[in-house]
Amino acid sequence: MYAYDQYDHALVNARVGEFRDQVNRRLSGELTEEEFRPLRLMNGLYLQLHAYMLRVAIPYGTLSANQMRRLAHIARTYDKGYGHFTTRQNVQFNWPKLVDTPDILQELADVEMHAIQTSGNCIRNVTTDQFAGAAGDEVADPRPYAELLRQWSTFHPEFSFLPRKFKIAITAAKEDRAAVKWHDIGLILKQNDAGETGFEVIVGGGMGRTPVIGKTIRDFLPEADLLSYMEAILRVYNEQGRRDNKYKARIKILVEDLGAEEYARQTEAEWQAIRNNPIDVPAEEAARIRAFFAPPRLEVLSDDVAEVDDLARQNFLFAAWVRNNTGKHKVPGHVHVTISLKPHGGIPGDATDAQMDLVADLADQYSQGEIRVSHAQNLILPHVAKRDLPALWKTLDAAGLGAANQGLLTDIIACPGLDYCALANARSIPIAQAITSRFDDMKRLMDIGPLKIKISGCINACGHHHAGHIGILGVDRRGEENYQLLLGGSGAEDASKAAILGPGFGEEGIVDAVEKVVAVYLGEREDGEEFLATYRRLGPAPFKEAVYGAR
């Protein structure tokens, strides 16, 4: 993992001191809310429905066990005993008091964490594949590049007041687990025919009220040129992005207006003008950063482990967990393990302080002290020996963390919705709870297979409903919560926009509608065909008929 140097420590600590002073001046009345609001937002502090909310950055979703313990401590000491892991691989605390936030930020700074740039019209937390550094299918670990981008974008004076917020994601695997095509900039790490490492560069993706899938503007950018090229993309956006209309201010609108080819041309022209300036880091600095992400020294072990096979034969839930929640690691005899934060009937992404402490202990015991957060709101132990799986699963299961549903219908992404969020029009979490309770049968879920449901409580789409195989969007219909059903989205390498199937439903009706959609799939699927493939083959008609036919 990256470790702060003296400059990182100095910057983050200075920021805590500055914010403490700002909070004191706000409380004393020296600063009005109008003056204070942009300052608190720059430190991740929102005001939501019931209280302030603090969004803490987890750079590219990587956490140490000690950092997780500190999050647990903050949840216990300053909040109400839980945190909420988000689709940006961050964590949010729902109940901090304004007066406590400087102390919370100091607690975070002491373990090399902060809430800087988790809000505001700046470059936000760079996200990546939750299995980075462990995945068997990656070209290289994308996190050194994400860290480079973090350092470049933190307090970047030119890009601190962009027309709108800006999100970057990187993947290095063929299977896109970071939804890169849905980001303002998506980067796909690859090797060219000469064996050189570089990036496919995608711009102009985004969700919100205008969902757009990003367009490739460069097939191969040598890795050494990453920062200067990013700077060129951002400069074109910063200069021409709309500032007159918040809803048309994201880069996706500019890319649509100019056309991807023209955007690429302007970026290229800007890049040629600046690429020889000292923006890109020297090879030694890139190597210094990369060294922090050196793979852990794992013993090469056998992939055949009798204890795992024996328990799997005896216990269906363990067998399902191994199948769904573990994946191929670079080192034989090891796996990465997804700890589902989606217990059936539970709140997607929430973890109690005790669960956070437990995950920290398990990371120390079984996973080299490392933890990841996925954009699907789960936690990952990236480096686990297969022989440890039975003991690990038993401990997780006893703590309510043993759900075997990774990638299945009940592994639902849901935004906080109207239960917490000041922007929401409808609740998201109770819909997720109702669906996971309705489908609370592992055999049935395994039969249905991979199926991603994503729920947002308003058109800002924090719950990624545009990218759901089944998407659900909560709206306010004359003061009542109403839910639209969308089908056919994907956040993966085959990215697609989900389409609205028809009129919306109330809370009960939307769960019935999901069940009808699943029934059509089960009735129509061909051998081995997953839900999304069946939908793409058949189109919306049979689903529409099943859902609305009786109306």
Binding site: R26, L27, S28, G29, T32, E33, L47, Q48, L49, H50, A51, Y52, K80, G81, N94, W95, K97, L98, V99, I347, L418, D419, Y420, A422, A424, R427, I429, P430, Q433, D476, G479, E480, E481
Partner: protein, 108 residues
């Protein structure tokens, strides 16, 4: 207020120091209990409430002030009409055990 409201109205806000949801009460203070909220029916009375609230904002006691439509709960006490503000009065529906509002023992 940007949106024209109709019928009886009350004022909701968040307390500055801890963000807690409060209602402007009949004594011109802020109460965590919506049943204590001052409810105004006519334009002059509504404006008077809004003025008291604005003075509290200026005095850095509360923020995020909204004049909202009021209804009554099953006991006839003031209650926010719209679901969003009712959510603020009750706390998150999915964590009825945790909101500030738990201590108030809501029955609705």
């Amino acid at each position: 207020m940007a949106k024209k409201l109709s019928g009886p109205q009350m004022v909701i806000a968040n307390r500055l120091d801890d963000g807690r949801v409060v209602f402007l009460d009949r004594a011109g203070g802020w109460s965590v209990t919506p049943a204590n909220a001052a409810v105004a029916d006519d334009e002059d009375a509504i404006e008077a409430l809004a003025n008291v609230a604005a003075a509290s904002v200026a005095a850095n006691k509360v923020l995020s002030v909204e004049v909202i439509e009021a209804t009554t709960d099953e006991n006839g006490a003031p209650w926010p009409a719209h679901i969003k503000f009712a959510m603020q009065a009750k706390g998150p529906s999915v964590r009825a055990d945790l909101g500030y509002q738990v201590a108030l023992n809501w029955e609705n």
